[in-house]
């Protein structure tokens, strides 16, 4: 997955970022209680223990998303990955988890241009995941049943794959925003944030 000491290849970086999204999305879904506890099992990653879904349907959905994301990361056309939480009844968007992705366009599949240690990258990733897990403390509780949606922002000229369709942005009115730490593999830089609806004072 990672080339020798010279640096990280596009392929290796893609693998790392995809893996991060896998754990990130899973722990968001668990931490926010979108699905019941018993749909998740504990896994070790980056020295953290992270809850990952074991439900076949949800697993399949995430796999579809991640496979596609991996392809886009390789092509360096992905700009954003957004996880949207929507109230099932009112269709109102209550929370958005946005991951902005910057791709270093100069790196091609063979060359590497970085000297960043794998360990440093993993430390950065761990810090981001910690923040995601810790964010439960400040986010308002999801009071009604919520469902999720994943949106990906890509380059305009990128062909729409069969598993996707073009749509408009799903946004929150008067959202509060909290940015997370970012991490960079030197090929891809990922900056996460969460937007949430501030509760109306009744």
């Amino acid at each position: 997955m990672q080339a020798n000491k010279t640096g990280i290849t596009l392929k290796g970086s893609t693998q790392m970022v995809t893996e991060f999204f896998g754990f990130g999305l899973n722990s968001i879904l668990y931490q926010r209680g979108v699905y019941p506890d018993d749909m998740f099992t504990r896994k070790e990653a980056y020295g953290l223990s992270i809850l990952v879904t074991s439900d076949p349907k949800l697993e399949q959905f995430l796999k579809t998303v991640l496979d596609q994301v991996r392809e886009w990361l390789l092509k360096k056309v992905i700009k954003k990955l957004v996880l949207v939480m929507k109230n099932v009844k009112t269709e109102e968007i209550v929370e958005r988890w946005v991951f902005n992705i910057d791709c270093e366009k100069q790196v091609d599949s063979e060359n590497t241009n970085s000297k960043k240690e794998l360990k440093d990258i993993q430390n950065e990733i761990r810090a981001v995941l910690r923040q995601i897990i810790a964010s439960v403390t400040f986010l308002p509780a999801l009071e009604d049943t919520c469902t999720i949606d994943v949106q990906v922002y890509t380059d305009k000229d990128e062909e729409t794959p069969s598993c996707c369709y073009e749509s408009s942005a799903l946004l929150i009115k008067d959202a509060e925003q909290v940015k997370f730490k970012s991490f960079s593999t030197t090929v891809h830089k990922v900056q996460g944030m969460v937007e949430y609806k501030v509760k109306d004072d009744e």
């Binding site: 700009k79 009604d144 598993c163 996707c164 749509s167």
Partner: protein
């Protein structure tokens, strides 16, 4: 120009558009169409605002900069001369509204994420707030099932239950060691209470009332800690010379001795077949009682005496508190029953020795800890994140903590000045009642297996039994407590 557009538009729309185009070319005054001044330049354009849905893509009025978007709209129609079909046009407008780079397109996945099951779990999440605020959890469930409103139910049921202010029974405990760091009291699942009095360990059978001396050490040695195994009547005894002894209470026989510490053992905690022991030197050792080479792991993260040691209810975490004022959380990894060499969390907010530790029975990652004389606080922790959820000043050293399994309450045992027990409401940590009786400080607390009675060992050489979590028999019968408490556990986890 018209034909070009006709090709790209559906036939239905083509007709009115050409009509409009004609009409528009007749009306030479631009003021006829004041709302979209820019678009009146192009013959095909006036259609745009008239089609249903021309406006519906502006959902976010308050965050939209209208002047800017209006300008952008005009500019676009001027430069593009309205050559693009409706759909693309709309898409562009939306994109402009949300300041999205025009080179970006947004894709959604056709596969839908599975719908969250609309079960008790989800629909009850909302009622959670109510449930924890209520004094009686059983009542709370009933009300939320009936769909009672939040406000009324929480007000109505906040009537106080009766907590007897006197101890139900007093046992004599001569020669009890007045040492804050020791853990000399434990009550087993089979209703046996073990207490160490200096060099002896006595077992009081709470069912029959019989008292038996289980073991004695040589003159000069003393017992630092006792702990019952969960599944069997085996008692682990930590001694002043650093040996963990394992006793069978039914036959009163010593099963084995396990060495490994070179100083006294003030704290013990079981995890299945592993006994974890903390020593005066700050080591925590894990002994496998089944195996010949009993020591499976030894850690050295505390710099001073480990006076508090507790495995969590699900045996996933181990909490250890030391005289170095640190509270460490350890995690059992990979299905093992002992911890790794490095702690998961180091919590250093206490200002004195951390002896009193108790894990929440219904929220697996919530821990309550109490500090010594210089600290006097009870803190609640989320151990997965290391956040301190709550801190309460008790005005007295905290010697023991227990969670009620019957009510959402915590009981704490204290020292100077009042030598009292205090019951706190969870999660608000508002004090409910103080139980007075001991004339010297409380050394340890234990709870009966049915969760109704608490025993406190005082330095005044008495053990006092308090029936402070008694279940109302009427209520218990009505609600089938087993079922209800199961449901409670399922949906009251906050993460």
């Amino acid at each position: 120009m018209d034909t070009l557009r006709l090709d790209s538009l559906p036939a239905q729309q083509a007709v009115p558009q050409s009509r409009l185009a004609k009409r528009n070319s007749n009306n030479k005054t631009p003021s006829k169409n004041p709302k979209t001044p820019g678009k009146s330049n192009t013959p095909g354009k006036p259609k745009t605002p008239k089609t249903p849905g021309g406006d519906r893509f502006i959902p976010n009025r308050s965050t939209t900069n209208f002047q800017l978007s209006s300008f952008l709209l005009q500019e676009r129609s001027l430069s593009n001369e309205g050559l693009s079909p409706m759909k693309q046009e709309n898409q562009k407008i939306i994109n402009d509204h949300f300041n999205i780079d025009p080179n970006t397109k947004i894709l959604s996945f056709r596969d839908r994420a599975p719908q969250p099951i609309e079960c008790l779990y989800n629909s009850y999440r909302f009622h959670l707030k109510v449930v924890i605020n209520l004094l009686s959890p059983l009542l709370a469930i009933d009300k939320s099932l009936q769909g009672a409103t939040i406000g009324s139910s929480s007000v109505k049921s906040s009537t106080k239950r009766h907590i007897p202010s006197n101890s139900e029974r007093i046992l004599d405990a001569p020669e009890i060691r007045n040492d804050y760091y020791l853990n000399i009291l434990d009550w087993s699942c089979s209703n046996l209470m073990a207490v160490s009095l200096n060099s002896h360990v006595y077992v009081w059978n709470a069912t029959t009332g019989g008292i038996e001396r289980l073991m004695s050490l040589d003159e000069g040695d003393f017992v630092g800690s006792v702990s019952w195994m969960e599944e069997a009547d085996y008692l682990a005894v930590g001694t002043s010379d650093g040996i963990v002894q394992l006793w069978d209470a039914n036959t009163s026989r010593l099963i084995r001795k396990m060495e490994g510490h070179n100083s006294r053992i003030p704290s013990l905690s079981w995890n299945k077949y592993i006994i974890s022991s903390g020593s005066r030197g700050g080591q925590i050792n894990h002994y496998d009682v089944r195996s010949r080479n009993h020591q499976v792991c030894s850690t050295n993260a505390h710099t001073q005496e480990v006076c508090g040691l507790k495995w969590s209810c699900n045996k996933q975490y181990l909490a250890s508190g030391g005289n170095d004022n640190n509270l460490l959380i350890w995690e059992a990894q990979g299905g093992q029953c002992f911890t790794q060499n490095a702690p998961l969390q180091t919590l250093s907010l206490h200002q004195a020795a951390v002896k009193a530790l108790a894990w929440c029975p219904w929220r697996e990652h919530v821990l309550a800890s109490g500090g010594g004389t210089a600290d006097k606080t009870i803190r609640l922790w989320n151990v997965t994140t290391g956040d301190c959820l709550h801190s309460t000043d008790t005005n007295s050293q905290v010697c023991g903590l227990l969670w009620s399994s019957q009510y959402r309450e915590i009981i704490s045992g204290h020292g100077y000045a009042k030598n009292h027990l205090s019951i706190w409401k969870y999660p608000s940590m508002s004090p409910l009642v103080e139980l007075l009786g001991h004339s010297q400080r409380i050394l340890a607390l234990a709870m009966s297996p049915d969760g109704q009675t608490v025993v406190s060992a005082g330095a005044d050489e008495t053990l006092r039994l308090w029936k402070c979590f008694a279940v109302d028999p009427k209520k218990a019968r009505k609600n089938e407590p087993q079922l209800s408490s199961k449901v409670m556990m399922d949906f009251t986890k906050i993460r």
